[in-house]
Amino acid sequence: MFHYDIVRYKYLVLIGFLLVSIIGKAQTTIGKDDGKNGPHTITVYVNDAEDKSQLIGANVIVKENGEGDITNERGRTRLNLTSGNYTLEVSYLGYETKEEKIVVLGKGTIRIKLTQSAETLEEVIISSEGADQNVRNTDLGKQVMSIATIEALPPFVGEADILKSITLLPGVSSVGEASAGFNVRGSNADQNLILLGGAPLYNPSHLFGFFSAFNTDLIQDISIYKGGIPANYGGRASSIIDLRYKRGDQDNWGGKASLGLVSAKASLSGPVFTEDLTVMVAGRSSYSNWILNAVNDAAVSNSSANFYDLNAIVDYDIADDFSVRYAFYRSNDDFSLASDTSFTWSNQNHTISLDKNFGEKFKIELSAVDASYNFGIVDNSPFSNFTIDSKIKDQGLNFAAKYFVADNHDISIGAQTKLIKIQPGDLNRVNPESPIEPFSVKNEKAMESGIFAQHNFELTKYLGVSYGLRYNTFRFLGPNQVPVYDPLLPRNEENILSFTEYGDNDLITDYSGFEPRASLRLSMTESFSLKFGYNKMYQYIHLISSTTTIAPTDVWKLSDTYLKPQEVTQYSGGLFKNFNNNSIEASVEVFYKDLQNILDYKDGATLILNNNLESDLLNGIGRAYGVELYLEKKTGNFTGWLSYTYSRSERKVVGSFPEEIINDGDWYASNFDKPHSLSIVGDYKLGKRTKVSSIFTYSTGRPTTYPEAKFNYQNGTNIAYYDNRNTFRVPDYHRLDLSLTFGWDTENKWLSGDWVLSLYNVYGRKNAFSVFFDDIPGSPPQAFRLSVLGIPFPSLSYNFEF
């Protein structure tokens, strides 16, 4: 009897082995048998079976011993197992749970692919974090958006757009359709640090803000920090937008492409020789020139509006616990009107990063970043043509080490340093006959460094603390020529007493400061928590712009003898509650911000080609406060969110002289103070490949300056007289967008893609981009409204994978 059982057992094992070799992958053997029993380190990667993206926060459990862990931000976890047979159970919200049988012989790697669950296929929101993370962690004012979420929104001119999607979140707003910047919790657009794969991006948009300047196909996810900003981030005073790249496909070569009305994009990725080395390349280009050229008018067809962006990302796993990445990014815009003037701008970033783990508990990251932003204006008008070229070069080194003390307990330390060089404007002639005298605004150079430590830990299930400290130094360096102003007179060109000369790398002035950060979580129940946060940040670079967008007419300026660093202190708190097994997320957050050394400008300031910019600028303070409500339904056929924000953003400028006072020294609304802001986003799945999405958004009109009187000058034209700034508002903004996504499964993969038909501004609301005043013959002097897209705007795009 006993003998028979043994024989039968051996027989079954034999069949089993045969089956394994025939079917191939029912059981995976890991490592080589070196005779040692272990424990061996088994590295487990979890990916989406479809788009190969890394799944972060997936649960990996060894059924035999109940041990397990969740995957980290690279979709990876490690297990320590002795030789033997095991079953891994891998689960992730919105995916089919998978059991994978493994035979462990030695140290090795296994890749597990999960398929999205049938009932939620293609419309689940892939959060990079666990379902209950919003309640469970100490993050406050942080929002993670996945590309799936962004791609599910109705697109604008056929393009899923990251920056436009961000403005649908509570506390984030933008000035209007054609505006590249966005404002987080009442802060200026230059106070957002936008990191693309770790490198700063100075101009995040194409075509003056109509499109984001990066390709969504390469982005794994986007983390938006509005408050509670961890100490490893510094340099900008208000918010962090961290866009992380995906890793290239480690199994097969494949790609994605999308054709829209204005632009097309494609990406391709795959392994090179080995799955350890992957490459991902992508490109996007507009073909709007073709459309412009088709217009049968010389003036229009001579205009051009071109943009492109390119990416290349190479990942190499030198060892299981040691990887290196190189990322390249370039964007370019070229915009010219038939009226002789053209604008160009381009970003170019190189990033190299090393990621090394020492065992399970300790890892270090090293990176080198070279970022540049070049922008220019070319004026080709007859007789007096000129070019103005400006450049920013930002080169930095970053180091961070993280020690995982235990589950939910880690300590990080790090250091960052960078050299920033700005060429604020070089004026040159196009041809030698031009009377323009070449002129350069004095260049600027500074070294900005920071060290930080961050400690996150969970004292009990009910109490979590996360706190950190960052120390910054900023050294403004020569060569430079610094004017000395008469201290008793207003700061202007006439009152310069002398200039102080500084040689190359001479220290002109320096600033330093501590930036404490802290957040605290108190959990009442598993699904309900209270959080508090505090953070302070300094910023040493200023965007000085007289327009409402980030454009080549802007000036970027470093802090110097006269312009002190911007300083923002934020206090925030929130209530977080999940319902229905974490399928419904709700939160209420409040914040108060104190802003110091905020710049505004004098009436009639000259910003461009100004060597003594400080004489046209005013130094002010600001305050912003608000409450943000957020409700999201994350699963089912109907998903979506509602966000509502009530907030105010105000400024105050009181200088020593009458010309240095704005609005009699009272608080006045900032350019982007929009008290009420509401977004409703819905996504309804009609069938396996068909769904409709909608966005409704409403906000109070932005502040603007209205004339206080009209007067006659110059041949009887009525001219508007302005005095106090931003005392009125443009009409309220609201808009509805709809889109329909559909597709058919066919034999041909080129034809099996998704069609996206969308309608922007469904009811044709003429939202005012601006309100201005003019006296046009034939009617009384009156207000006019410029609506950038005041008509329903349809678009069609086709997205497919290959």
Binding site: F711, Y722, Q782
Partner: protein
């Protein structure tokens, strides 16, 4: 095809923010301020030079509030050696210097105003800077970008050419005016009868007139980027209205000097006039002044009392440079109905 056109239009609208996206917006600015407005400039040419006084009104239609001329004020201009001239009121709110009064380069002048209600104002002292002589006037034909093949705006761009002196900062203002001959058809004149129907009503005179016009648009310039060079700068645009360029057109250009403060004033005014609601608009700013209320110095005043040296030149337009003429609009009336017209042939014509 229809859809295609729509897309092209839509996209072009989108990137250019064309005027069809601009519409009137009924806004009541609510505020009403009556601020003294002073406009006027004395030059080194013979007078009479005009200074106008008015009060600002609520921004909006004349039915709500209208700009009122400031009448019965007393104005005089004094130079630094104490010579002074009184201005006499012509039409309401307009005050004129004597015809033989002219400013001199290198001297400074102040304007004093006493309003009918007794309020007293004085300008800052303005020194007359010398203006470099005009070398020549350059004219170019220009067609403005348009979405339509049939309707477009075209005209003549006026460029001033001069040598900018090297050892000083110069600020300029240009005034462009024109004189043209018009051939009308008074014999085709039509009147409306009692029932409002048109009936032929030929007139005997006049077919040929000479019309002089002052062209609007403010053109100013500073030499900070071009100091000491020979400069050709665009100073004006004369639109082809289908009438001006039918016969012979003479462009008259005055090149005037400005003080730095006057330049800053006109620069702000220019910014204000250039606001079109687009992304490159300068922010609205408070217009300054060099006029101060002697009793309440904080009172807001609008306008600038300017002093200028003038260099003047003129040129006949060579109609051959016009590549596409606008459809002509023949005046079926007595040509003297046009403002600024006369039947007398100017002495320098031909």
């Amino acid at each position: 095809m229809r859809l295609n056109t729509l897309y092209i239009l839509g996209f072009t609208l989108m990137i250019f923010g064309l005027s069809s996206c601009i519409d009137e917006l009924n806004i009541d600015t609510e505020q009403k301020r009556n601020i003294l407005v002073v406009e006027g400039m004395i030059t080194t040419e013979n007078g009479p030079h005009k200074i106008s006084l008015s009060k600002s009104a609520k921004y909006g239609s004349i039915l709500e509030d209208d700009i009122k001329k400031e009448q019965n004020a007393t104005l005089f201009i004094r130079d630094e050696v104490g010579d002074q001239v009184f201005l006499t009121e012509g039409s309401s709110g307009s005050y004129f210097t004597p015809a033989d009064f002219k400013a001199e380069v290198g001297r400074s002048y102040t304007l004093s105003i006493t309003l009918a209600n007794g309020e007293r104002y004085i300008s800052t002292k303005e020194l007359v800077p010398e203006v470099p002589k005009l070398n020549s006037i350059v004219l170019l034909w220009k067609k403005q970008p348009s979405l339509s093949d049939i309707q477009f705006t075209s005209g003549i761009e006026v460029y001033a050419n001069w040598n900018d002196p090297e050892d000083e900062k110069n600020y300029y203002l240009w005034q462009t005016s024109g004189l043209f001959k018009i051939n009308a058809r008074p014999d085709l004149h039509v009147s409306k009868n009692f029932f409002g129907n048109p009936v032929p009503d030929p007139k005997d005179c006049c077919e040929e007139c000479y019309v002089s016009e002052t062209l609007g648009g403010l053109s100013i310039f500073k030499d900070n980027l071009t100091n000491g060079n020979e400069i050709t700068h665009r100073v004006g645009f004369i639109e082809d209205d289908g009438r001006r360029f039918m016969d012979k057109y003479m462009v008259i250009l005055e090149q005037r000097s400005l003080t730095k403060n006057a330049f800053q004033f006109f620069d702000l005014l220019n910014n204000q006039l250039s606001i079109q609601g687009d992304i490159f608009d300068p922010p609205p700013a408070k217009i300054g002044t060099n006029i101060i209320n002697l009793d309440t110095p904080d009172e807001d005043v609008i306008g600038y009392f300017g002093v200028s040296d003038v260099s003047r030149d003129s040129i006949f337009l060579d109609n051959g440079i016009i590549l596409e003429n606008q459809p002509s609009r023949i005046l079926n009336d007595d040509c003297r109905v046009l403002p600024g017209s006369t039947t007398e042939i100017p002495s320098f014509w031909n």
